[in-house]
């Protein structure tokens, strides 16, 4: 069963009459993770925001977007708002600007939870704190009382994942969540996203330009270039035997860097291959 089916999506700019997405059709199977890869300007974020209908007002869209069988492109704004957060959750790239800088994290989270559930304050707090503990955030009480600028990028991302855990949506759209993070935070966030999927069995739409992260977390992948989908399929086949020239180009350039690094690491040392076991935090 497909949780999201997008058919003939067209997005254009009403001000400049420029077409951003020409004619996209894709689907996300239930319980699987579809990754969208492409370079900047390829239209990945615009596509995903159009599923949530959160694009800028001058970007118009047409086509069918079926979410659990229902065409959400035709819903009224109020109906759509009810779906957002509860059924469709978004994890954004820049944690610092995803939270309201004027109030502490706790206030922002409490507001979100109160919009969708009927819990009182104590209940909300209990749920979010247990979620935060499961994403390896120590001292959740203390963190809830801090402002976004006092926390690091990695922690903010994990808070967003914890919020997703509590909301239990059917689809999580993650828009370049690891791009702005450094190596260690990136690893931790990717681990948490994998665990999140295992625990909740939700589907995920993962946007990234980093093929390494995509390889680790996604089941299927879709390559976008200049607003069009050039290739899609199962992750192993697309990355090991890319058919389209652009995919081949992306894979080969990424490989150049990785192979060089791997050669450096291996260089003569016999136990190098198994020596770097990836510890789970």
């Amino acid at each position: 069963m497909n949780i999201v089916e997008v058919k003939h999506l067209k997005i254009w700019d009403a001000n400049t009459d420029k077409v951003i997405i020409h004619n996209s059709s894709f689907q996300v199977k239930q319980g699987s993770c579809l990754a969208i890869v492409g370079e900047s300007g390829s239209g990945k974020s615009v596509t995903c925001r159009s599923i949530m209908r959160l694009n800028k007002p001058w970007l118009r869209q047409s086509g069918t977007i079926l979410f659990k069988g229902e065409d959400i492109n035709q819903l009224s704004e109020q109906e759509m708002r009810r779906r957002r957060g509860k059924n469709l959750c978004m994890i954004l790239q820049n944690g610092m600007s995803a939270f309201d800088p004027a109030c502490v994290i706790g206030v922002h989270i409490r507001e979100t939870l109160q919009t969708h559930f009927d819990w009182n304050n104590k209940e909300s707090e209990r749920k979010i704190m247990s979620a935060m503990e499961s994403v390896m955030l120590k001292n959740p009480q203390e963190i809830l009382n801090q402002y976004p600028h006092q926390l690091s990028g990695g922690m903010l991302q994990r808070i967003m994942i914890a919020l997703a855990l509590v909301l239990e949506p059917d689809l999580i759209i993650a828009d370049e969540p690891t791009t702005a993070l450094d190596t260690i935070s990136q690893y931790e966030v990717v681990e948490q996203l994998i665990r999140l999927r295992e625990r909740m069995g939700c589907s995920m739409l993962f946007i990234s330009h980093d093929l390494g992260v995509v390889q680790k977390i996604a089941d299927e992948v879709m390559v976008m270039k200049d607003g069009a989908i050039v290739e899609s399929g199962h992750i192993r086949s697309v990355f090991t035997k890319p058919k389209h020239a652009y995919t081949q180009y992306l894979v080969s350039t990424r490989l150049e860097l990785s192979n060089h690094f791997r050669k450096l690491m291996r260089g003569g040392d016999t136990d190098a291959q198994g020596g770097w076991d990836r510890k789970v935090l």
């Binding site: 700019d13 001000n15 400049t16 420029k18 900047s40 300007g41």
Partner: protein, 297 residues
């Protein structure tokens, strides 16, 4: 010039600019433009309505309203512009020093600005006029003294924001001197902000001068000034309202023109609207494309 080309796209801006240029020119060449002597009293023509020789009629002393209006441009518009420029200059110098060099210089300059800004505007102007005596020069001195601190603050914020830009860092790293960096990199980018706030303040300064003249504290009789002309017609406000029309409209038109120009300048001075090709028709599309792509990153 690039600025004029950009402005020419906006009809309202061009109209405002034309109005201002005409008024400034008329004011500068007042002796040539005015049909009569503004101070010529002619009691037989008191409150006369418009006629062929006196286009806008005569005021309570029989003086030609049109000539008074024209001569009134000088104090109401031209002198205010001079005061504004002096104020902006002082504020800019102080703002640049504070914003670019930061540290102790910035801290002490800002404390001085805080002191200056804590005095309420009108009250201070009245106090200065009270000490020095009534008269146009004294009001303008009061304005300069009051306003420079505000300009310094705003310009400092703008300069601080632009000093953090990477091209300034590169210039510093390359060993280019501070003065050169300020003139080549910081002044052009902050010029837009400065022009916008200066033209915006022009309006408030003009209105203040008119207000003070209306109260009798500004320019003294028998010189012509728009606010004072309004004051003089106060007694016959209800019996002859048309006499208030001329100076009142004049003030409204000039203040509005500066306002519109200020808005248009902000758009016109945006560097992102510069293009390397100078074909007229294609430019609109290219500009749109360039700004779109730039914002897309």
């Amino acid at each position: 010039m690039r600025l004029l080309r950009n402005l020419s796209k906006d009809k309202l801006a061009m109209t405002s600019l034309a109005v201002i240029v005409v008024i400034v020119a008329v004011g500068v060449f007042a002796p040539l433009c005015a049909p009569h002597d503004p101070e010529e009293v002619n009691m037989k023509l008191r409150y006369a309505s418009s006629s062929w020789s006196y286009w806008l009629g005569n005021d309570h002393l029989g003086r030609c309203v049109l000539s008074r209006l024209i001569y009134g441009i000088r104090p109401s518009v031209l002198w205010v512009m001079v005061a504004l420029m002096i104020s902006v200059l002082v504020g800019a110098v102080v703002g640049f020093i504070a914003g670019y060099f930061k540290g102790k210089a910035d801290a002490w300059i800002m404390r001085l600005c805080d002191v200056m800004l804590s005095f309420p505007g009108y009250v201070m102007t009245l106090a200065v006029v009270g000490i020095l005596g009534a008269g146009l020069e004294h009001i303008l001195i009061a304005f300069v003294v009051m306003k420079w601190a505000w300009f310094a603050r705003v310009i400092r914020t703008s300069v601080m924001q632009f000093s953090e830009m990477e091209y300034v860092k590169f210039a510093k790293a390359s060993g280019i001197g501070s003065f050169r960096i300020i003139t080549k990199h910081i002044i052009p980018v902050t010029f837009a902000d400065v022009a916008v706030i200066a033209s915006g303040s022009m309006c408030s300064m003009m209105l203040q001068i008119s207000g003070l003249s209306f109260l009798g504290l500004g320019i003294q009789a028998p010189h012509a000034e728009w606010g004072m002309m309004l004051n003089e017609t106060r007694e016959v406000m209800f019996s002859r309202p048309e006499l208030m029309l001329a100076p009142g409209l004049a003030i409204v038109i000039v203040v509005s023109a500066f306002n519109f120009l200020s808005d248009a300048l902000q758009v016109a001075l945006d560097p992102k609207l510069m293009t390397s090709t100078s074909q007229g028709k294609l430019r609109k599309k290219e500009v749109g494309k360039a700004v779109y792509e730039y914002s897309r990153g």
